[in-house]
Each structure stands twice: as structure tokens, then as C-alpha cells.
Point group: C2
Chain length 365, copies 2
């Protein structure tokens, strides 16, 4: 909050309206699903509604918490009325909200990613929280391995993963669990369905837990029974690409260079055209945070996926120590299937610290 | 899509930009997490990125699907450039997106809830999908009852619910599962934590499954062991309120009258001040849809919760046959706990059809 106020003062804007809930949580601790925060150089006010009276009392720090029985919008609009200009989170304020809060949308001054930029650099307590979440998810993976059998449905396997995370104390999933077998694994974001995992197919598992408010994210691709030659060779290429990406991570390196390191390996074996997404992303309170590990210049994305925070077009993003990111190249061949391998790593001055302890060799179960 | 085009033509706007993903799914079938749809009176185009190439091919109907390697925004902006005015979903288009897509935000013409208003009236196939989801969740509840023991943690119970839904073929949870024991149940939207359910306390379970893309939503409050007198009397009041709400449902009745029917019962026993949220909401592809079952005039909400679609301020909402809504009054007493009972009902010309088959008497397990 102190850093944010300094930035606000530097900007010359009288106040910042915070409407992105994870940013509100980061700044105040409030973890509910409805609220607006206004930050002035000398004070901060937070508004929510009757459902969150007790939760706001328990959680909110560093801001005055106000519970409104009537319209929260009207109360905020009234409080910020004296300001001629208002800094807003332009990516997290709808035209409708802007109208209700500001009356005239021309009062809005975009203050994009002020808080997201701060959130990139994880504090030690945040790294510890992510580490705990990542470790929990890895333990669940190890337990799942002993239970996997050919003929299990994707939803059943997803259920075992999610139950395992809950049993271990997880607060929920960090995103929609992906369990994709055989040809389904050619869809990078497949939903688990009734299809049953067969022998000799890729079985792709991508899931995360929320623990202490922070997210984990891991992907492994395994095979039930002996893996055919094609799966072996594609797996080896993706693993080599993933390790090349990790090896490229270091403070001061451009995110695009990490992305390029993965693609270079896949290009050599003519698989690069099947790697249809970016290499990774930051994570923390949200599953997708800055920085984005992708080719430069980063194009603006169509729509943010899974709450993504895409980097600004053409921006050169250099990794900094303290950032926590995923490295997750994949190869997806329509009709056949896909392989993805994903770890969470922490950027340090000397390289990458891999937080995900699960082994990465091709498991034939 | 046909109805929407008619509305578009009537509005005199040349095109509508659809940016709310559930609306895109409703209109085209696309269930991915990134895409933009543009609807003209005579055609519809849908854009997404490389991750969704195969999914778009499988799912999109009624629109031309375009996969962009580069910027989806730029492609959409180019395609809609000839239009001087563009109808937009003002509640689902951020200032940033508006700038990228329209250049000048003043081209935007709010077309709020055009699609949401259509979605309120469920088609028979949609009612059938909701019915299947509701039934699945109820079966999971019956199975859970046999497993509940004092000393189980909230997360463990949530895990059993979620695993049960997956085992039965569910595609995931419809919203963050709530399992709240003892004093925690005084928070209407509590997250499951490590607290263990004790004997003689309220144990509140609020959860939903997604099946065939559609949501279920149910809440039951049970007691492990014999219920003390206070829990019995509060439970009886909430149950009476909930049944009064259901009894008030009928085509042509104002949503506010249903809300009032619940509150009237609680007022009589001096518990109305502990009922701190609205009585219910529509549900379908999203867990919170129109109509909102709340006091009139509906105040604009602070921020939409759980993807809520709040009704417009002061609007008189009359229920129509074919709408599917929840009825879920609750009483929350800080420091003691809470009781909520929630069913999904379908509005008919003669009254309400209760879709949730689970019993509602106070269970002492």
C-alpha cells in the first residue's frame, strides 16, 4: 500500500479506484467476491455489501471498511465526486461500472498494471505460500500415480486429484482441472469428460490448488502401459524444450528469450508448429499473472484467458529476481494427442529455482 | 441468434460485439475461455487464438470461426472499423478492451442484457440440462450423508462433495464449494477451512455441479448429533421462510413479492435482520443469472459477485414461465452460526416446480 501511494502521488492523480478483486486482496487482505477500494495519497476506503460484513471485519487491514446496505456504487461515486480525474484499472473496469462510478467516463485515467507490476515481485511470505501450494499438488500427484488404471474416465481422475487436494487442506482448485486422454490431449485446455484413459495413449494432467490464497500450477503427461515410439519421441522433445526454458531463466534475461529457448528445441525436431501457446506466466494470488513468458513483441491478446494479465504490446519484459513463473511448453497434434510438462520456478540472480519437486521422466504406469 | 438479430435490427445499430463468454457459448456453443463474437443483421464472426483452433472447429455453430495467430483485438477492430456505432455489452467490456476494439470509446452504444434477457427463458433442452445437474448434486448429497462424522474438517467434506460430483460425471464445480461449520456458517460465503465439524452445530453445505455446461445450486444445513433448541427453532423459521418463498412463485408475480414472502416469515420471529442477502437468482450456463429475486426497487450492486448479473435499478421484474431460479433464504448470527436452505425451482403458469429432490427437514446425523 505504501509503494502504491508513492506511485499515486508521483502520477499526480488525486486517487486510484481499485476494482480488480485480487488486487484488493493483495492490498487489504479481503478475499470476498464483491467490493471496491479507493486509495488516496493519505487514506484508503473499502466498500462492500451486507454479505461481507463479518468477513470484511475479520480480513480488511490498511483501509477503512464500509458496509453498505444499499448501493455500493452510489456510495463510492459520492466519495470520489470531488476528484476531477480518477485513476482506474482500465482492464478491470467495465464501461457500465465506469458510468455508475464516474458518471462521465472522461474522468477516467488509465492506471494499468500499477498493482500487477508490484505483485510480480513476490515477497518471501508469498514465495513460501506458493511453495506450500506447489508441494501439496505434487504430493497429490504422487498419490494419484498409484491409483491410475486404464479404463478410468477423465472426470474420475480429475475427481481423485481434486479430492486429494482437499484432503490435504487445499482451499479449492486454482483453475479448472484438465485431464485429457488420447486425442483429447491435443486440446491445450480440454475439459475432463467421460472418455476413458486407454493404454499407450498420452494422459495429460494440468491442475492447481489454492492454499493460503496462493495458486499452484503443474502439468504432467503420463502413459498407462508401455509408451509407443511416437509418444516417447514427442515426450523427449517437450522435456528437452522445457529444460532448455528453465535453463534460460535468470534475472535480467528477456522473457522472450526463455520462450525462444523452448521453441528452438522443438524447431530442431520439426515440432515447433504444434506448440500453439506461450511458454509460461507468473502466478500468485491469481493463476495467470505478469510476467508473460512469450515471444516479443507481445501481441495484445484476444480476450484474457483464465484471468490472464497479458503483457503490453511491444513491451520488453526482463525477468527480475523474486518473480515466480511457470515453464510449460507443449506439443499438440490434432487427432493424435498432446504432451505438456509444466513446473513452477522462481527467478534468481543465478538462474531458476524449480519449486515443483515431481519427477519429469516419462512415466509408464 | 435469430432473436438477437431481430433485436439488433430493431435497435438500428449496425452490429453487436459480444464479449461475455457465457453469452458467446449460448449463441455459438463455444465453451473456451478466450474469444470475441461480432453479430451483424446478416452474419456472425467469431475470433479466437491458436489455443482454441481445434475446440472452435468442434464447437462453433452459427458463426464463422476465425483463428488468429497474432492479435485477436486487432482483427476484430479491423472487421468492425466501417461501423460508426457499435452496440456493446457495457457490463462485460473493460475500458481497456473498448479502447483496443473501438479506438474511440464514444463509438460504443450500451446493449446491456440483450442476451441475458433471452437467456432468462430456458428452452426445454436447457431445463433438462439443469434438471440433470440438480439431480446429480442431490444424489451426491444423499451419499455424503452416510459419510459425515463429527471431527471431519470442512475441506475434507468439501472434497467428498466435489469427488462425488466428479465420479458421477460432473464437469466441475459450478462455483466455489461452501462448507461451513459452527460459527463459520455465519459467513454466507465462507471458504472451507481446517475447522472440524462439531456435534450440535450447524453444518452448512452450498455447492453446485456443472453438467452439460449447465449449473446446479443447492444448500442444506445439517447437524451432527442432536440439534440444540436454538438451532431447531432457527432452522424451522428458515424452512418456513423458504417454503413461503416457493409458494409465492408463479408466472406474473413480481420477484420482489417472492423476496418479501420469505422476509415476512422471518420478521414474525424477529430474525429478518439476520437475513443479509437476496432471496435468489436465475441460473443456467452461469451460476448467477437474471432474474434477481430481491427487494424492489433493486439497487445497483457494488460489484457483481460470482459472475452475478444484477437487475437494473428500480426495474420491476415479473417472473415468467420457463425461468429457473433459486430460493435460498438464510439466517446468520455472528459468533453462533447460520442456516440456509436452497432449492432450484422452475416458474410455471400455476406456481413453482421444485427441481431439487433432496428432503428439507432438519437432519440430525
Amino acid at each position: 500500500m505504501r509503494n502504491l501511494r508513492r506511485r499515486l502521488a508521483d502520477s499526480g492523480q488525486p486517487l486510484l479506484l481499485v476494482t480488480h478483486l485480487p488486487n484488493i486482496q493483495y492490498l487489504t487482505g479481503f478475499s470476498g467476491s464483491a467490493g471496491v477500494l479507493a486509495v488516496w495519497p493519505e487514506k484508503a476506503w473499502f466498500w462492500s455489501d451486507g454479505r461481507y460484513r463479518e468477513q470484511a471485519r475479520r480480513e480488511v487491514h490498511g483501509a477503512r471498511a464500509i458496509i453498505k446496505r444499499g448501493s455500493v456504487y452510489a456510495a463510492v461515486a459520492e466519495a470520489i465526486r470531488p476528484a476531477r480525474q480518477v485513476a482506474v484499472e482500465a482492464g478491470h473496469l467495465s464501461l457500465r461500472e465506469a458510468k455508475l462510478l464516474l458518471g462521465d467516463v472522461r474522468r477516467a485515467r488509465p492506471a494499468e498494471d500499477w498493482i500487477e507490476a508490484q505483485r510480480m515481485q513476490k515477497e518471501p511470505a508469498e514465495v513460501a505460500a506458493i511453495r506450500r501450494a506447489v508441494r501439496l499438488a505434487s504430493e497429490v500427484f504422487q498419490r494419484l500415480l498409484r491409483q491410475l488404471r486404464p479404463g478410468m474416465s477423465e472426470t474420475e481422475i480429475a475427481g481423485k486429484l481434486e479430492y486429494g487436494m482437499r484432503q490435504a487442506g487445499g482451499e479449492g482448485t486454482a483453475f479448472a482441472t484438465i485431464v485429457a486422454s488420447g486425442p483429447n490431449s491435443a486440446l491445450p485446455h480440454a475439459h475432463p469428460g467421460r472418455r476413458r484413459a486407454g493404454r499407450g495413449e498420452p494422459l495429460l494432467l494440468d491442475y492447481g490448488v489454492r492454499l493460503g490464497g496462493y495458486c499452484s500450477d503443474m502439468t504432467r503427461t503420463v502413459c498407462l502401459g508401455p509408451a509407443p515410439a511416437r509418444l516417447r519421441s514427442i515426450y523427449a522433445a517437450v522435456l528437452e524444450a522445457q529444460m532448455a526454458g528453465i535453463a534460460a531463466v535468470r534475472e535480467g534475461v528477456e522473457a522472450a528469450a526463455v520462450d525462444a529457448a523452448c521453441r528452438r528445441v522443438l524447431r530442431r525436431v520439426r515440432l515447433a508448429q504444434y506448440f500453439s501457446h506461450s511458454t509460461g506466466h507468473g502466478l500468485g494470488l491469481e493463476i495467470h499473472e505478469l510476467p508473460r513468458i512469450a515471444a516479443a513483441p507481445t501481441p495484445p491478446r484476444g480476450r484474457a484467458g483464465r484471468g490472464a494479465n497479458a503483457g503490453r504490446a511491444g513491451e520488453d519484459v526482463c525477468l527480475k529476481a523474486g518473480e515466480v513463473i511457470t515453464i510449460e511448453p507443449g506439443v499438440y497434434i490434432p487427432g493424435w494427442g498432446g504432451v505438456r510438462i509444466e513446473d513452477v520456478v522462481r527467478v534468481t540472480a543465478r538462474g531458476a529455482e524449480v519449486l515443483t519437486p515431481s519427477p519429469k521422466q516419462l512415466l509408464e504406469l
